[in-house]
Symmetry: D2
């Protein structure tokens, strides 16, 4: 049996590179040789033991690669084809998928998120892709791996936050936190026609990137109070849509306080501990507020659309790749990324 | 100056019937002689001092009456015409109304709710209706006052909870609390095509009414655990839409726990104290949940539609009127209603 | 090789019962033994040669049956299970399905409609169901074949017309033509909360059924002019939604003329010949009109929802079955149905 | 009585500059001194007698100006304030406005379009604005008249075509005709996140402008066949949304033929003569197509949003002003504009 390198979760605090058998394409699935992948904030939650996965699970859900083996029943693809696969791999055929909630595939919360969670992921040399007919999307000619590396997760998630927020032309939108997902939400807000986009973070470098992706105004919360600034910028009106991209009580609450009556809080964060709704900001329930959460939309149609956005030049996220590592060095990559050292935004990992 | 009787807020715990001048129709407004009105749960919050209004404010926001005087600039109406006016009286011309958030008129939370809150209300012999062109709707021939008495608030609010929930044909919907608004939400869920409607309350009499309005299953939470029952009824799937119609942490939380991944919590309650989101039920933010709040939709078009629902016989809410009082007896009516004595659901007050 | 009886299209004017091999379950598919099926207006179009299919194609797309054989890769089902399969069998995994247009599966117009069109259908003893994981729905205990016989097509289509029309609570809706699909659209309009439902047809017997399914008013167009009546009933306002359920220029045009400015024409008909938009009724393009067409929604989640509507007693369509035939007699059944003899609405065919 | 200059419709072929009394602000209205206005294609239809208005009617519906007099009951504005008023002036208080169809104000087709149609318009020195509270929007500091001159009509209409089309991130959109409204639709498609925008026209100069506003590909229909090109560009898939911005059978039909199954035809044109739906392109009604028409959205909230889009620099339409005239020269301006001489796109008229 041929072996490959894979980064697996061992125990809280430890992700290690180990040898594993190369997967075989069972019916309906495809094996992809990973050419580039990356590390996500969620992987750090796993590393820290905050989001439990089985010991031995290969981590990673952001694959770019080449088809290596095609299982029975999968048609329309060829070995050697370059493909992107979404972080979320819906089956497309369960009640929940057919009801339009593909990310909750199987009717389980986050059930569509399989890679590096309930099955082996892509921080490895090879990846077994289930429900391949619905999840493999060829990469358009002329696009590099790094150009499409953000499609599987952060671009899909960030844009999803803008989409679920129901942004309309001329809206004012604030995005709290400008990590990779918040930056993509900023880009998404611009794509949907917001005319005043306010990005909030505590790191000037991230706010600088936010400006290149669509932010009209940036607020460094270590220097000024976001709510005071937002109310000044909106003449006391509040924002139409507030996007939460961190997953903390503080940012969730500030989002709610920033909203106009009738506004929408679009939440992307993964929360831990406790989350409360301040009733004054929530107008005791009388403010026609909406709170919507969005898990990364997946499936090959989503990937096709996102790569088209890249190909058209509408949004360029390559600059988010601040560091590059070989798969062999992935433990170093985790160390850098988990500690947000050296201005890291996203790392590219190449097996 | 002619005088009239009016029920005014005096101080926490005291609403008294006093003499006040009959209002005069200023430009754009109309004076309505109130023929029937009622008491709302919100009025009880005001009585208890939990929802502050100015001392001396006439209470009440559910008017049925007859046009007594028409102000300058108001056309298309005649003195003597029987009309219903919504609890919420949007101006129709501010930025917020034109943006589709009429209940938040003027851009202030609940800004469209004026009667018995920011201006004098209708627990009186006469009522001054602002923005009359957008808010007066003639009562179709053949409908009695009591048949349309629920249109201004509870029917509009309850149906609104079903509408905002985005109920689809074949949905399973649970409604927590079967007070007047919850009962209307139950009726609204049926009107939108839910095929399994579960009503929860602790009073059998209310659950019995819920059955007549559309509930397929009722759960007395004093006798069995709602969540266990809901999961059994849905084969563990959870409900598509959960409607909160009480305004407590317990019911809000049970709504969230009852939801399927991808489901919607439609909140109608007025909350006080604290409100927290249990993160397990909220899937840490990954469950594609939506939480929407709805303040009573107002305006004459809404009233026209609701009265058509009554006229067509689709929904009959007359049976909710369990007690009748003269305006002179309103203090007794408050005593009964605030203490939920004698199986009271709604009272009819006639000046 | 075992043989079965099947009704196949031979040439224009001829559908014959022939012997065919019983299909075998290939991977991803299931063979269903048909217990009850029916004939659709579209089958009559095929019979007449107006809608071309290959000679030798088994006709029929409304199956109720029992699982006879399960192909590789299909899990969660058992031989002997009673199931309903939609007329439309989306794959769930192509770009078009994942984009939410399952009825246009594969990106081809009406591509999701396979049975009796591009593959063999169900007017036979056995049926091969492709994409079985997404298309087989078990029948809830206690429901008879005839109770669920309308789910695969006319109930899904008719309800779909009401859903696509965007009916709101209190809407006025007219449905032109009260054949089986128009009757289901009438029932669907009621399920969505319309408060005035106007059914138009030229046969009193069909108008009588319309009343039992939700029509408040019926118009026999042989006796009075529908538009005059509609404008009288709506005080000149026009209807909010007009549903076309026949597929002719005359009914399409009357739908458009019946609409209010801002109204929606929801089209279910299959048109032949020419179709023109009268510009006066279309307000030269300035009337904010919407014209939407809906092909029968399919997939197992849709079937689950529709059977729940039946199980809850919300809508009962058994009375639409006016005649019953053995599969051996199907040529007689076509003769009756195609000529709309003897008050036929739908026939039940049992192999 | 003070007089002013006004361009009035006299008879087919004749619009003349005449003297008229300066209007007086009746209650609820405001008089605006017009500082800049323009000519619309619809005005040319009026000039040619194709769209009937009363003889003597002052033409024009695209006003930028300064408040000159404020009527009783209008608050929150000041004489001397610079304002924009939409071409459509909804009352905000009728059933139709409250139902969300403000452009059809009063329930009449195009009822919200009053200026230069049912009341005097703005090709004059002064303009009486009805329902002023809902229709006057102050111009943000720093914006010139010409920067906001497209807001009242073509920007609102063109963006409206993109909005009504339901464009999603990653959509392919074609816009047929790149006159002023088509160009704005092109800009609108980009604002909503389309990733492939195809602009079709027969004038290279207009296609060049289309590129600056968001078109990725332009097709000169005099040189190549649009449908062949569109199918090539979309790999035979068809477009998600096709926007019709001319008002002819040919472009309407090409839009329909360009659509994917499940696609939307968003129509902005004003049609005359006949309009037919080719049934092959319409898939005989089975293609889940949608056809939506959009009349220019009006009201002050819309103007606020559009001016914010201008202020943010998202879209710049100043370059559409190709020619400038004094009001005294308006007959020359009509002569140029009606004959599309000298590469004219829009003219600025200054009283």
């Amino acid at each position: 049996m041929r072996k490959m390198k894979a980064a697996v979760y061992v125990r809280p605090g430890v992700i290690s590179l180990v040898d594993k058998p190369i997967p075989t394409a069972v019916p309906g699935s495809v094996v992809v040789r990973v050419t580039t992948t990356t590390i996500c904030g969620t992987d750090v939650h796993i590393l820290k033991g905050e989001f439990p996965v089985d010991a031995g699970r290969t981590i990673g859900h952001e694959p770019v690669g080449v088809i290596a083996e095609i299982g029975a029943g999968v048609t329309g693809y060829a070995v050697g084809q370059r493909v992107v696969v979404g972080a979320i791999t819906p089956c497309g055929q369960c009640h929940t998928c057919l009801d339009g909630h593909q990310a909750q595939c199987g009717g389980k919360a986050a059930g569509g998120w399989r890679f590096g969670n309930t099955i082996d992921g892509c921080q490895a040399e090879y990846l077994l892709v289930p429900h391949a007919m619905g999840n493999l999307e060829p990469i358009p000619d002329g696009l590099t791996d790094e150009q499409v590396l953000m499609c599987p997760d952060i671009m899909s998630t960030g844009f999803g936050g803008a989409e679920s927020g129901g942004i309309k032309i001329g809206d004012t939108v604030v995005i709290f936190a400008q990590g990779p997902i918040g930056l993509c939400a900023t880009a998404g807000a611009k794509l949907r026609g917001a005319s005043l986009i306010i990005a909030v973070d505590g790191l000037q470098a991230r706010l600088d990137v936010a400006r290149t992706l669509g932010a009209d105004v940036t607020i460094d919360y270590t220097k000024s109070d976001p709510l005071t600034e937002i109310m000044r910028l909106t003449q006391g009106r509040g924002v139409d849509v507030a996007i939460e991209a961190l997953g903390t009580q503080a940012t969730f609450e500030q989002c709610l306080r920033a909203l106009k009556p009738g506004g929408t809080l679009s939440s992307l964060g993964v929360y831990s501990g406790k989350l409360s709704l301040p009733l004054d900001a929530f107008a005791a329930g009388l403010g026609d507020h909406r709170i919507v959460t969005t898990l990364c939309p997946g499936g090959k149609e989503r990937m096709r659309r996102l790569m088209n956005v890249v190909a058209s030049g509408r949004v360029s996220l390559e600059s988010l790749v601040t560091h590059r590592f070989k798969l062999d060095e992935i433990e170093l990559a985790y160390e850098l990324f988990a500690n947000q050292r050296d201005g890291v935004l996203k790392v590219a990992i190449t097996p």
